[in-house]
Symmetry: C2
Subunit: 275 residues, 2 copies
């Protein structure tokens, strides 16, 4: 198995893309013709994947949507489909797990054995021994929450520790102590480009998962300028709803609409990389 | 539906117990006769529940163990079994979820609709809007991580914010701002009784889920002295592995061994309450 960071780097290059396509299947928003299909979630995600796989550097299924729908088997099938048809595109399971060591071992099995994800998002609140079990899987990565894009993100992450906000402390902790084998990444929202820039300065070339563009309103040029590495990559810039539920133009089906928005987003990111 | 706190209070009284029995079904530790049964996880948990239901104030399934085993349907069946046979004992789903609003809504559906849990554990790192969707379910509760019992718990939770450790800041935030409808509780480990005492002083009578006795080594008298309310309750003191995998004495089966340890633990807690 290829290490996550190598797989991601190859996908950045092969698809000339920093775009991560989030898979958040919400039954209320699925195209009408799928609403009554028993495997609607699988069919929908498969169509989105086929329509965007040459434009994406990663796919990020959000497990909450599958869990709410009792659709774990469909998520397994989606991950298998990705491995069989697009083995060069990494899967980031967005699970934001966080628990003590022996429980974290079970969550690592869920992410890496059951869903065969290349990386999983993890919450840092419980400290290093809640992250370490994921790092036992040497080819996989743990993408740790640092600065999140939601309004309440500031409630804890912006508290001052030794004069600096907690999220910067987390960035330093991960960069200096937790990232022993180069297996860590960070989640840093696009809604605060200045903070993204500060995290980039702290963590060097560490890969960043950046949610918050698209439906959440983050600015693409500011995000790219703030978060790119010297090599012009280093990020998985995620868009979920804006792609998945793109409104079809005349003559388009939902997958074509998703492809159009994905392409516009990838290209907007690439224009910002070239600027 | 009865509000979580009322159901918990009634169970404290009815069973004269502050003991929460954790359900962490680990295939490697299950009794040999169950190893090859297709519904081993369900059967095991059902036997443990039947053996301990008159000794417990709550049952706490740890969802990671079920997820690693692809056993979500068995967890659903266990929750249904609890509701049908022991409707007076609350179910605390230990999931430690934490995500932005629209995703948290999905996790709330997972916990409260799919598994019909009375309460769910939640991570505070992403702030209030990551907790609020659980509080929309007015009869249910969110038990928020405050001070955890694992070694790495100090990595973030002990960082100083305005001169006081982060976990105390979280306790204040929950008590003063997040607990608008009396639906919040906190997770505070038994491994640090002095810190448990400080949290109790901050949060008044708020219910505390206290892991860390049993296999994790926390001291029962110190825990009870530090964490009880004026009424002598206020806690769900959790034990999982020490009960589930109790070594049967001569002539005992595994469920009888679990009952014996659960009874010893409940009684040790009650002796400490009386002291």
């Amino acid at each position: 198995m290829t290490a996550f960071i190598d797989k991601l780097s190859a996908a950045w290059t092969a698809n000339d893309s920093l775009l991560c396509v989030g898979l958040d299947p919400d039954m209320e928003k699925l195209p009408e013709q799928l609403q009554w299909e028993p495997n609607a979630v699988y069919t929908f995600c498969k169509e989105i994947i086929d329509a965007t796989a040459d434009l994406a550097c990663a796919f990020k299924p959000q497990i909450a949507y599958f869990a709410a729908l009792r659709a774990e088997e469909q998520l397994e099938a989606i991950c298998t489909y990705l491995h069989e048809n697009y083995p060069h595109i990494p899967i980031v399971l967005d699970a934001k797990r966080g628990d003590i060591g022996n429980t974290a071992e079970q969550y690592a099995r869920e992410a890496f054995e059951r869903y065969r994800a290349d990386a999983v998002t993890v919450n840092p609140y419980m400290g290093f021994d809640s992250v370490a079990p994921y790092l036992e899987w040497k080819e996989r990565s743990a993408i740790i929450l640092c600065r999140t894009s939601n309004p309440g993100g500031s409630d804890l992450q912006f508290l001052k520790v030794d004069g600096q906000p907690l999220y910067q402390h987390v960035a330093r902790l991960v960069a200096d102590k937790w990232n022993t084998n180069g297996q860590c990444g960070l989640v840093v929202g696009a809604t605060f480009p200045h903070e993204l820039e500060q995290v980039r300065q702290i963590v060097g070339d560490m890969p960043l998962l950046v949610p918050g563009i698209g439906a959440q309103g983050g600015d693409i040029p500011a995000t790219v300028a703030a978060g790119r590495t010297a090599a012009g990559s280093g990020m998985m810039i995620n868009s979920s709803r804006a792609i998945l539920y793109a409104k079809p133009a005349a003559g388009e089906n939902y997958a074509q609409a998703a492809r159009r928005v994905a392409q516009e987003t990838r290209d907007a990111i690439n224009r910002a990389r070239a600027a």
